[in-house]
């Protein structure tokens, strides 16, 4: 029982962590929380599902295609829905409504084109969704792969932020003017972050489909859970996202055993509010001094 909860929790948690990481990537230099992110993940999921099951593309081609496509789409979103609002009021929140609008557009377009039927996607070879029984623990080879891959991706993203580009993104997040004075172009960094964050979201969607089934409703669900993981973990922290993702996944799995799945969101809401009240910066909070 315990291990079932753990396996299920870590699997879901890995996905929530990845969604949170894609939020973080976009958020860092821009301070914008993309309400359309959940639907970008959904696009990656639906897109790859269609390419794999309908057109039988090889898995790596499908993956590359959705990553590029969604990355470009996210760039368009930045250009159309985010940059104009930010240039008007650099501290405004009009982007909440514009990115929300983009989310609506994406989910409705996909919904119109495909409908609400979920697509069942098999795990990419050599992995499968068949349960193995390893010393009493029920776990599929895909789940193992997913959990390990998430860890690798999290550390990969961290490592990326140690590159010069990553440092520049962190610099822009910390002090835009100082970055300008060192020759860094914050607008270019923001665009690249959006493109990267979008591609990462598509990757997450691709990885999610064997586990969650690709459907158009995925977007709304992942927006909330991704937000919860990012907020609890601390915005901008990949390790925080990992810890928070696992925490949420396991909490949900435990909740399914004792309560019905309908209480998932309630548990999440309570968790988010309790953590944020005690530590507004999240579990791995970086300092946030009050300034005038």
């Amino acid at each position: 029982m315990f291990f079932d909860i753990l396996v299920s929790g870590l699997t879901a948690g890995s996905l929530y962590c990845l969604v949170a990481v894609s939020f973080n990537i976009l958020y860092q230099p821009t301070k914008v929380f993309n309400f359309a992110q959940g639907d970008l993940v959904m696009l990656g999921s639906m897109g790859s599902a269609l390419l794999l099951t309908q057109w039988n593309w090889p898995w790596w081609v499908a993956l590359l295609a959705v990553m590029v496509a969604v990355g470009v789409l996210t760039l368009v979103e930045e250009w159309m829905a985010v940059a104009p609002v930010l240039s008007r009021h650099s501290h405004g929140t009009g982007w909440i409504i514009t990115t929300l609008a983009v989310a609506m557009i994406i989910s409705n377009v996909v919904g119109k084109v495909w409908g609400v039927e979920p697509i069942v996607v098999p795990a990419p070879l050599p992995f499968s969704n068949d349960m193995l029984n390893l010393e009493g623990i029920n776990i599929s080879s895909y789940q193992i792969a997913l959990i390990l891959l998430t860890l690798a991706l999290v550390f990969g993203v961290d490592w990326l932020y140690h590159s010069l580009w990553g440092k520049a993104a962190l610099a822009v997040a910390e002090d835009r003017d100082a970055a300008l004075l060192r020759g860094i172009d914050p607008a270019a960094i923001s665009r690249w972050s959006f493109a990267f964050g979008g591609a990462f979201a598509a990757l997450t969607g691709y990885l999610a489909s064997p586990v969650l089934s690709a459907s158009t409703t995925l977007g709304g669900i992942l927006l909330l859970k991704g937000f919860a993981a990012a907020a609890i973990g601390g915005l901008g922290s990949t390790r925080g996202a990992l810890a928070a993702g696992y925490m949420l996944g396991v909490a949900e799995a435990a909740c399914s055993v004792w309560l019905s799945p309908g209480y998932h969101n309630t548990v999440i809401l309570i968790l988010v509010l309790s953590v944020l009240l005690v530590r507004p910066g999240g579990l791995v909070s970086s300092l946030e001094a009050r300034t005038v």
Partner: protein, 574 residues
Amino acid sequence: MALVLLPLLFNGQFILFMATQALVMMLVAIGLNLLTGYAGQVSIGHGALVGLGAYTTALLMKDLQWSFWLSALAGIFVACGTGLIMALPALRLSTWYFALVTLTFAQVVTDLLVEWRSLTHGFSGVVGIPAPSLNGHILSPVQVYLTLVLCVVLVFLATRQLVNSRFGRGMVAARDNPLAASASGVSLWRIKLLAFAMSAGIAGLAGAFYAVQKTVITPEDFSTDFSIFFLLCIVVGGQGKLLGPVVGTLAFFLLPELLGPLQSWRLLIYGVLLLILMLFAPQGLMGLPFFKRWQKRNIVDVDIQFDSAISLKPVKNLDLTIKDLHKHFDGVKALQGCSLFVKAGRIHALIGPNGSGKTTTLNAISGFIRPDSGQVMIGTTDVSSLSPYQVAQHGVGRTFQTPKLLGDMSVLDNVRLGGFMNEHATAFEVVLNLPRVRSDDLASKVQALELLKFVGLSSRAEELAGELPHGQQRLVEIARALAGRPALLLLDEPAAGLSMSELDRLAELIEAISKHGTAVLIVEHHLGLIARISQSVTVFDRGQVLAEGSVKEVFKNPEVARAYMGREGTGDSM
């Protein structure tokens, strides 16, 4: 006084149904406009609040045979109460966190409506909700409609009352310039809660009407899309404008008719519309020049005697004492044991080279920074651990290095914002327009006009504050600080950017202010101004007090000259 409401007296069932629907939506939109348009908190969960009101009403009427009126009242309380459970913690977070929490909340409500089958009948919803009745007589759809019209009118008037009162000014300040709001004694959290509570209650009321009109409600009726409709209404109409939600809802209802064959695409079209509006017409319909004429402007029609000097007297005469303040930020020792004393009615200057800790001290006094140790006493009260709005309420007014005014509000209203804590009518009284409210309102207008006359700007009372030149903005900010009738006035580099004549005016002003009993602490670089008006001076250097005394003593001190112009030789190393 432009309240346009056209009762639709048609003889078509369908049109009546649509009109009733439209009014229900309008009710919610008016409430949401208060929260999102005025107070600046985007909510994507109001659909759930409507649902809570609807379900409460429906279940009480159907299962317990309560009357509509009591059930609706219960609906209001349930919506408001449940919403507050979420909002109390969530409003302490930043705006977009709040938006996402409302989204989660909406999802939770929908989930629980399905989960608690025994109470709510789950997926199938509540069927056969009876019509409202009065004294045993069942109301016809027309009568329900008219009741709804009455409610909309009342809610609109109540909202208008609130918006034109100090609470409305406080909300706009919380949205556009939280620092100015805090410095004027507005508790940001409380004012947002007020906006939220009202909008939630209104949504609950709308839900009650929704339930009896549709007679069948299911959890699916109150999805996220439903919440987004209300956002759309206020964006179309114009956020933060009284008639915005009215105009927006009407426009929104005409839309499906215009769409015709594209009906099934309407959600997509709404999304595109929302995006286009936010990008190209963020002010909505009410922002169009045609509609701007309809907006009510605060007409100054009051006859005032300008000899009353009460406005300029502090509520209480208090001294400022600072003892041994320490503060360090990230390795930099900003304040290393500073002490200061300003007696009521005196002008004291705080000078020193850049980086010596002057602004840090002002921020510590006004509560924007918490010192690591030491005391800040206003009179006999230690305010060093209080938040900015609390410090303001203890009798501290301040200006900022760059004037923090609300650009889209009139000069008069900006000054009136400063008087927030001296008006005492509660929100409840404001909504009901009780006599105390009207006398408060008049007093605040009179005081603001007197203050504007005092600083020489009464001719510009009606203009938008953002359109004034810098020097005049500075004077408006001083007037605003004085509107709180502070015991202590903190001025942060008021001379910056002023012309010679403006400087003269400023000096006269500050001297007049202190003559009325206010203690004045002025941080300034313009030594000429300091020399002219201060009775005593403290010189800071690198976080410590270097010298203090009368102007003459301090300026003759060679250490002071050296601190400003450069040290020779070596001193202690850090």
